[in-house]
């Protein structure tokens, strides 16, 4: 049913656009201050290496993430977005990450509906102690987005001209 709806719309993903050989995706990572941001700091202090494509934005809690941020990111600068918060039950603000999760799922459905591939926006739980996990998550997201190809180029070609 969903697929049928998708077909009726102009798909945003254009597989025929070939990325130039030196193309690297830009990924925006929106991390909560208490768990995931601290976790990403730990990745740094542990000197665990990960692909340099991610640009991190700090928010107090994953529940601060407005769907608008995701849409704006994909619209303007990013090829993919990662939102990361505390593990369920560990939210510094008691229940914020549950709201975030629910809101994220709805947003994802919307983006899907519009024609974005579901891997363009991803969600993860990374605690302050999970430095290695953060590196893994970033590596995976980067790889996923690389597979999907550029969103940005497409936009430049279609909107600027």
């Amino acid at each position: 049913m969903e697929a049928a709806v998708n077909n009726q719309l102009v798909s945003i993903e254009k597989p025929e656009i070939v990325a130039p050989p030196d193309w690297e995706p830009v990924i925006i990572g929106i991390l909560c201050n208490w768990c995931s941001y601290a976790g990403s700091d730990l990745t740094g202090t542990s000197r665990i290496q990960y692909p340099p494509n991610i640009r991190i934005i700090r928010v107090p809690c994953s529940s601060r993430v407005d769907p608008w941020f995701l849409i704006k990111s994909l619209q303007t600068t990013a090829d993919g977005v990662l939102v990361s918060g505390c593990h369920p039950g560990d939210c510094h603000y008691i229940s914020g990450n549950y709201y975030a999760r629910r809101r994220f799922l709805v947003t994802k459905k919307l983006l899907n509906f519009v024609g974005f591939h579901e891997n363009r926006v991803q969600f993860s739980w990374v605690s302050a102690a999970e430095g290695p996990k953060f590196a893994k998550v970033v590596a995976k997201v980067t790889e996923d987005i690389k597979k999907l190809g550029p969103l940005h180029l497409y936009k430049k070609e279609n909107f600027e001209k």
Binding site: T45, Q49, S63, T77
Partner: protein, 657 residues
């Protein structure tokens, strides 16, 4: 027009080795709003900060970006530099080019530099949208809640109360004293535990600033630092403490005998009881599980013998509330149950006991009047084998960590055995002797040399019965041979595990805990007594296993922290909280539902200027708001914004990459 200053740090070689710092500066200079950009070896050093201060004045900067380490590290330092130069500290943004770039992309300097430049650009963009913010002050309730009345809770309560701050001390059992009250003598000085503890217990009871609530539990904690509200359940004791004189007639006459927890079940107590003779408060309670009057409606002897008529079988649990400003959690520890050690025959052989059982037996006020005996036949043992690391450092059967105190209390037990039983001998099976502490190694030497305790390095593999002896088999790795010791009594040094109520309590307090159940400190080194939740502190074994000196030190540290919070009549609070634009608010109250702190209420405002028609809008209690931003994301009319993380700030970051 914004005038931004950019300060890029080398962090010695930490950043400079993997990021081309001058290139980042050049890149920053190309941004229209950047009027000044410079790099420096250590931006956080005083000369580094001086450059920031000077530039603010010289170049009339309107916001500052420091590209250095994580803002979690030095944001406060740089904010201070700003305010020293007369600038609002919240006009600072930190670009994290160390943890997020130089340290994690060490193999690709070009990419790391490009990323650092991007991070700087994002920070500049955000800082342009920064607003001047001011710290908020919140009134404080100057009363502390201490949960748990062991030595940690007692020490914390006394220290806080001595600073003339009221304390509510809640203890689960009928008396304070905790595990320390069960000990005989303490290492490494062998001073009598009762002699040093009971005066403190009495102090607690008589202190004008301490409200002692025994036989009670904390049910709920609402609010935030400085303004908590606690609900406490006073369990029904069936004895009116106000009239009871503690004469003891009731428990002397009570016919129901049950195992005595204080003596580890070695002897019996009555269904109406005071836990031990030195109990504080020295008032009996009725154990409703056993009292036949309460279970079957038959007996009533205690009521008959009580001259004061203090017995009240109809008493109900009572729930009371207290307003408090800070909490000290001191719930102590439990001992690990050694049942999984089937190869030792735990549960089958009566003459295998735990260390605390041994401690009770050698205690002067213990069930055997200070002489250890074999539970099987009541004989006094001569050869006693002590086995350390029971459950500790044993992933297979127990827990991974070292319980920290067993090495020392076992040493103490060998000495006590030597003192109490003439001609006795101790064998200690150990893996390592961990005697790091003042006077500890000397204490071990005393046990080994003066009392001649035999130390055998190896884990015991099997215990079996031969006649009335227990044969204890283990390797002595020193000589590389398997040895068997004929033992009269075997004492297991069981591991320290967290109080089994810890996870439940942690959840109701909103504090995190680890996989074992110990509550987590905010930082393992630099904030060892704080929790991540402001105003809640940890003392003693609630946080990790520790001995009495460490526990007392930590309890006093908690007291200092509590007194710090209560030093003024108000508390300073981060201004990063939500505010409502009443003009835009549609009164849908979505924000009220999502706020995890109940910080959002509604108020009535006039429909328009001078109008008499009223409409409902949201109102944020700035004392309660913690700044999570949940309300901002759900607000349909964009009426709420979160200071420091406003929509323009974040969107600026997104579009500037």
């Amino acid at each position: 027009m914004a005038r931004v200053g950019v300060f890029v740090c080398f962090c010695g070689a930490n950043i400079a080795d993997f990021v081309d710092v001058p290139a980042v500066v050049e890149e920053a200079k190309r941004i229209r709003e950047v009027k000044f950009a410079i790099d420096y070896k250590y931006m956080c050093s005083d000369p580094g900060q001086q450059q920031i201060r000077d530039a603010i004045v010289q170049h009339r900067l309107t916001s500052i970006v420091v590209a250095a380490c994580s803002p979690r590290m030095h944001e406060k330092t740089f904010r201070k530099a700003l305010s020293d130069a007369g600038m609002n500290p919240y006009l600072l943004e930190v670009a994290n080019i160390r943890e997020h770039s130089s340290w994690v992309h060490q193999k690709d300097k070009k990419a790391a530099t490009a990323k650092a430049a991007d991070l700087v650009r994002m920070a500049v963009a955000k800082s342009i949208a920064n607003e001047q913010l001011h710290e908020i002050s919140v009134p404080v309730t100057k009363r502390a809640l201490v949960i748990g009345g062991g030595i940690a809770g007692i020490q914390a309560a006394l220290d806080i109360a001595d600073a003339r701050i009221p304390v509510v001390l809640v203890e689960k059992s009928p008396s304070i004293g905790g595990k320390m009250a069960q000990l005989d003598e303490t290492f490494p000085t062998l001073d009598c535990s009762q002699c040093i503890l009971t005066p403190k217990m009495v102090d607690v009871a008589s202190h004008p600033y301490i409200e002692l609530i025994p036989y009670a539990e904390v049910l709920e904690l609402d609010g935030f630092v400085g303004n908590y509200k606690a609900k406490i359940k006073k369990k029904a004791s069936y004895v009116n403490f106000k009239t009871c004189t503690g004469c003891g007639a009731c428990w002397q006459k009570c016919p129901v005998k049950v195992p005595n927890e204080y003596n580890m079940g070695i002897d019996k107590r009555k269904a109406i009881y005071t836990p031990f003779p030195q109990a504080v408060p020295n008032k009996p309670v009725i154990d409703a599980r056993y009292c036949t009057m309460l279970t079957k409606g038959k007996c009533g002897i205690c009521s008959k013998v009580c001259e004061k008529g203090s017995i009240d079988y109809k008493m109900q649990d009572e729930i009371i509330e207290r307003e408090i400003g800070a909490v000290v959690v001191a719930t102590g520890y439990d001992l690990w149950d050694p049942k999984p050690y089937e190869e030792y025959g735990v549960g089958r052989f009566k003459d295998i006991i735990t260390s605390l059982e041994f401690e009770r037996m050698v205690s002067a006020n213990g069930p055997t009047n200070g002489v250890p005996v074999r539970p099987s036949d009541g004989k006094v043992p001569k050869n006693v084998v002590f086995i350390k690391c029971i459950g500790s450092r044993d992933e297979a059967k127990g827990i991974e960590y070292c319980s920290k105190i067993c090495c020392m209390y076992t040493t103490k037990h060998t000495i006590l055995l030597h003192h109490k039983v003439h001609g006795s001998h101790s064998y200690v099976f150990y893996m390592d002797i961990r005697a790091a502490g003042k006077g500890y190694e000397e204490f071990v030497k005393k046990a080994q040399v003066d009392t001649g305790a035999t130390y055998l390095r190896g884990r015991v593999s099997k215990i079996y019965k031969k006649g009335d002896k227990l044969m204890v088999r283990g390797e002595d790795a020193q000589i590389g041979q398997v040895v068997e010791v004929e033992a009269d009594l075997v004492v297991l040094a069981t591991a320290v595990v967290p109080n089994k109520d810890n996870p439940d309590l942690a959840r109701l307090l909103g504090v995190s805990y680890d996989k074992y159940g110990y509550m987590s400190e905010a930082h393992p080194k630099l904030r060892p007594v704080e929790t991540a939740k402001a105003g809640i502190f940890l003392a003693g074994c609630t946080q990790a296993p520790k001995d009495i000196p460490d526990t007392v030190a930590q309890a006093s540290a908690c007291a200092a922290k509590v007194c710090g919070i209560f030093a003024g009549d108000t508390m300073k609070k981060d201004p990063m909280i939500s505010t409502v634009n009443k003009e835009f608010c549609s009164g849908c109250q979505n924000c009220v539902t999502v706020c995890p702190y109940g910080a959002i209420v509604t108020e009535e405002v006039p429909m328009g200027h001078g109008s008499k028609e009223m409409r409902t809008v949201a109102k944020i209690n700035e004392g309660v708001c913690q700044g999570c931003g949940s309300c901002v994301a759900v607000c349909r009319s964009m009426a709420i914004s979160l200071a420091g993380f406003t929509d323009p700030q974040i969107i600026n970051e997104i579009v500037s990459i």
